[in-house]
Amino acid sequence: MRNFSYVNATSIEQVPSLLGRSWDDAVVMAGGTDLVGEMKDYAAVPKRVVNLKSIEGLDYIRQDDAGLRIGALTTLTDVLENSAVSQELPVLHQAVSVIASPQIRNMATLAGNILQRPRCWYYRSEDFPCLKKGGARCYAVGGVNTYHAIFGSGPSYIVHPSDAAPALMALGATVHVHGPRGGDEVLMDDFFTMPEMNIRRENILRPNEIVTEISIPKPEANSKGMFLKVRERESIDFALVSLAAQMTVVNGTCERASLVLGGVAPIPWRAVEAEDYLRGRRITEARAESAAEAAVEDAAPMPHNGYKVEIAKNLVKQAVQALAS
């Protein structure tokens, strides 16, 4: 870890000025469960770390008629234990329940979870000066790409590691951002960015902006959700493939499907073709399979990760069938 200075922020308004114009100047820290590892591995070498936990009033879960508002500093444990989340947003509850370990969930925040940096072993190792660190190549190409992306066309083949992000995206959540010019709101669907737009980052945040809140609209009546996660190891493991599914089914017919895959692309990956296919159709086993096929139609696996296509397809099929029944 490189030496750095450490600042306790005391208000949201103060944060943009404490941050800089470059990611190398300063970064924010909330739970620190991702950032500290990144710094130890020299994947992040900020000159200054701005602690957000010293800002009061950013950990809350508030429910109103419109839905749920979750403060950026709310820990994953608090999200997991919240009754409104577990009763009305099972997709989010289930997603958070399979993140890391209880100890990590006690520290990690919901905003931090969606802002996680890639777990790619080339990105995380000091040995590889990869594209995402300003280097010249993506080592997954021609390397060992067992855990890399099956969607997207580079130039980086990282996968987005968050479990909460697909769930929030499936729920149509909005991210509240604060920057030098004040607050702004962005739909989760518009928040994440593919490598061809910004090779160094995975979302639209600029170096002097932070997330302050995530708001989730109240799901419509007859809407059901679930989260499926396949990981090699049950104890503390990132998803090989995950799926957040939220579906509105009336009398066996799908009115709306929101299907977001995790672990398969540089951003949480909305299976648009499958959603379009399902809309207005009566759900049968054959149609669940067709939706699953549609979900992976655009998959372009690398030499070592073709198995992810099979898993993604099967998860879509399983979720569609389960939510229609």
Binding site: E232, R233, E234, I236
Partner: protein, 739 residues
């Protein structure tokens, strides 16, 4: 009731030469441990004596040692898989505030080489006032490398045109051949001949405590706190390296966080720590990081085994041919057992080679070579059973020459419900999740020796036992307490036991499943003979022979007339002011070697995700006379889990394009976690008449093989490559679907 005596032959060292002598010892019957039913401690479960110290943090491990003026060492390692160092310059590092010393290749060419043969090889080291400064200093040492071609994949390395790992020999070592009978004639007798290739990956050791030492010089005397499996081997290596007498080196290992065969001798990091401390004139602590553990401290070599097996239609094995290779990295051997594993085959030929690659060197790892051999053999036995339409157990029983193992197979099969609960037809269930059952077996050696001990009985009745063995986490300290307390009829807490220090009597390294069988007979013999010396002093007061006395429940009394009794303290008081001091050693007759083991496994296979879950393991093991069933069971549990880890998750992954290990951490190198642990049931097959036999290694051997067989039983997918991750399971399932 006179204690019978017997004569045993022991070997002593005289002027550096072994000499056999005869001594008289009490005759305690077959197996040496007497009537176990009367025991208070030996063969009874006992919690570790240091359990509370360990869970409260009172136990001080090497990493916890703090000394005045302590510096922190770090090692600079080669940044390339193959390179030559043209120039190395530590000027910038030395200029950093807090950096004390740097050692460079020229400071010790025996430790450091300018020829780098793997990414992670030691090339320089620093010591600084904090670990953070030491790490900064590593980044401030400028190295000018001439980067050379490399090869990290064992298949690629076999190509004659591949980059050469060493300049004085080829990548492929001399073949080792083992043969018996006539394989051509054997295969001619076979009704069924099967051929298959099985692949085992490289496994890292992952001791919880990383390798490390604290070294402190006073003049030419060196004290070392070491995380080691052999304090005396550390002493010997350091004395040799620095050209000082062994008496000048003291090595201490009071508590130790695990070792699986890669912690013998001082090793490079130990010598480097001592070098830094000597140059700095201050004590230095040098603990390796997890990344360094993966890169440079040893691993289980890979194994690629082409196996051909022939059997008659009734299941008798008649011919076996195996050609195998594996990579030990830059040095060592990847050989596995050189005869057909477990089973009797009259005609066989085995040819095996080690293939050097530009990767960290191997080190003996928990049952070296055996899990790999068991995986191929036990998979192939199932494949043969299937081809012959036999039950996998029947073909094993027919060809297994070991009676105890045959009994253990039957015992485990009965317990798990092999005949009643297992479907004889693979892939017979419908639905997404399919369950199956599999079996695999093992053998191991063990055995004891090479241990001395001292016992002092003081006039106040206090008893001290010293032995230089180290407790690497297996419970050796507790065993010493138990054996001594049993012998003296005292309570465990009445015995002052000292271990883990070269100032105490010699004991060999803790490896090869030999520690219990080495230490316990030495403690038994030493305390038994020390007690006899005490009895000689007090027998005249009762008018009996020393051998008629018994020590039990804190008293010493005449065996035939317990009314003639005194307390232990009263007995010891008869010594006046001169304690009994006895220096003893390992005695024959209390231990044995050679054990079988069998694991039965139940798994669930998710046929849509390729996820395999090990649901249940029934482990049947045999350790002759078990000293402490609690610590013994811990060893079996640990062995089972390490085997599941090897079979299911763990895999050193080298990037072929760059030559770096990509998963040198504990996130991507996956060791099983608490929620991955199945139900484990342990069945004991006791043979107390054989004495003590070790358990550390056999318990890990058969797990991957039995998982593979259970996966096949569940879903009909034969997986011949470890670890059994979803990618392999799904592709094997796809092959089943296509028929």
């Amino acid at each position: 009731m006179q204690q019978k005596m017997k004569t045993v032959t022991i070997t002593i060292q005289e002027d550096g030469e072994p000499r056999e002598i005869q001594i008289e010892v009490p005759d305690t019957g077959e197996g040496g441990w007497g009537d176990l039913s009367k025991n208070t401690y030996v063969n009874k479960p006992h919690t570790r004596v240091d359990a509370v110290d360990k869970v409260t943090g009172r136990a001080k491990y090497t990493a916890d040692i703090k000394l005045p003026g302590l510096l922190y060492g770090r090692i600079l390692r080669s940044a390339h898989p193959r390179a030559r160092i043209n120039r190395i310059d530590a000027t910038r590092a030395m200029a950093l505030p807090g950096v004390s010393v740097v050692v460079l290749p020229n400071d010790d060419p025996e430790v450091f080489s300018r020829e780098c043969r793997f990414a992670g090889q030691e090339i320089a080291a620093v010591a600084a006032t904090t670990p953070e400064v030491a790490e900064d200093a590593l980044h401030a040492i400028d190295v000018d490398y001439e980067v050379l071609p490399f090869v990290v994949d064992e298949d690629a390395a076999r190509d004659p045109d591949a980059a050469q790992v060493h300049s004085d020999r080829g990548n492929v070592g001399e073949p080792r051949v083992g043969e018996q009978g006539d394989i051509a004639a054997g295969f001619a007798q076979a009704d069924v001949t099967l051929e298959a290739t099985y692949r085992c990956q490289v496994q890292s050791h992952i001791a919880l405590e990383t390798h490390g030492n604290v070294c402190q010089w006073e003049g030419d005397k060196l004290t070392v706190w070491a995380s080691t499996q052999g304090v005396f081997s550390v002493r010997g290596e350091l004395a040799g390296h620095f050209g000082i007498p062994e008496t000048n080196v003291r090595v201490i290992t009071e508590f130790m966080g695990g070792g699986f065969g890669a912690k013998f001798g001082a090793r490079k990091e130990g010598v480097i720590c001592a070098l830094l401390a000597r140059k700095a004139g201050a004590p230095v602590k040098l603990m390796l990081t997890r990344k360094e553990e993966h890169l440079a401290t040893g691993n289980r070599p890979s194994a690629v085994q082409h196996v051909k097996l022939g059997a008659t239609s009734d299941g008798k094995l008649v011919a076996y041919e195996r050609s195998n290779y594996g990579t030990p990295g830059v040095a060592g051997s990847a050989n596995i057992p050189g005869a057909p594993y477990l089973y009797e085959v009259p005609n066989y030929r085995i040819e095996q080679t080690s293939v050097f690659t530009n990767a960290g060197p191997m080190a003996a790892q928990r049952a070296p070579g055996h899990p790999q051999a068991a995986f191929a053999m036990e998979s192939m036995m199932d494949e043969m059973a299937e081809a012959l339409g036999m039950d996998p157990i029947d073909i094993r029983q027919m060809n297994d020459p070991n009676e105890a193992r045959r009994n253990m197979v039957a015992m485990g099969a009965e317990h798990i419900g092999w005949k009643t609960r297992r479907s004889a037809t693979p892939n017979s269930q419908t639905g997404r999740i399919k369950t199956g059952m599999g079996v695999g077996s093992c053998r191991w050696g063990g055995g004891g020796g090479r241990t001395q001990a001292e016992c002092t009985i003081n006039p106040d009745g206090s008893v001290q036992v010293k032995c230089g063995t180290q407790d690497i986490g297996t419970g050796t300290l507790t065993l010493v307490h138990m054996v001594a307390a049993e012998e003296f009829g005292l309570k465990i807490e009445d015995i002052d036991v000292r271990i883990g220090d070269t100032n105490y009597p010699y004991s060999g390294g803790s490896g090869g499943s030999t520690t219990a069988a080495s230490v316990s007979p030495a403690i038994k013999g030493t305390t038994m003979l020390a007690k006899l010396e005490l009895f000689k002093k007090i027998a005249p007061r009762f008018g009996v022979e020393p051998g008629e006395l018994v020590a039990s429940d804190g008293n010493v009394f005449v065996g035939s007339d317990p009314s003639k009794s005194m307390t232990w303290q009263q007995a010891a008081a008869q010594l006046g002011d001169e304690p009994i001091f006895f220096h003893g050693q390992w005695l024959p007759g209390y231990s044995d070697s050679g054990v079988p083991g069998v694991h039965f496994v139940e798994v669930s296979v998710d046929t849509e995700t390729g996820l395999v879950k090990v649901d249940r393991v029934v482990a049947v093991h045999n350790s002759g006379m078990i000293l402490n069933p609690l610590t013994w069971a811990s060893q079996v549990n640990g062995g089972v889990l390490m085997g599941i880890g090897y079979g299911m998750y763990e895999n050193r992954i080298m990037d072929p394009a760059t030559g770096y290990m990509v998963n040198a951490n504990l996130e991507d190198y996956k060791v099983m976690g608490s929620t991955d642990i199945p139900e484990i049931e342990i069945l004991r097959y006791d043979e107390p008449e054989r004495g003590v036999i070790g358990i550390g290694e056999p318990a890990t051997i058969p797990t991957p093989a039995s998982i593979a067989n259970a996966i096949y039983n569940a879903c009909g997918a034969r997986i011949r490559e470890m670890p059994f991750t979803p990618d392999k399971v799904l592709s094997a399932l796809a092959a089943v679907k296509e028929g």
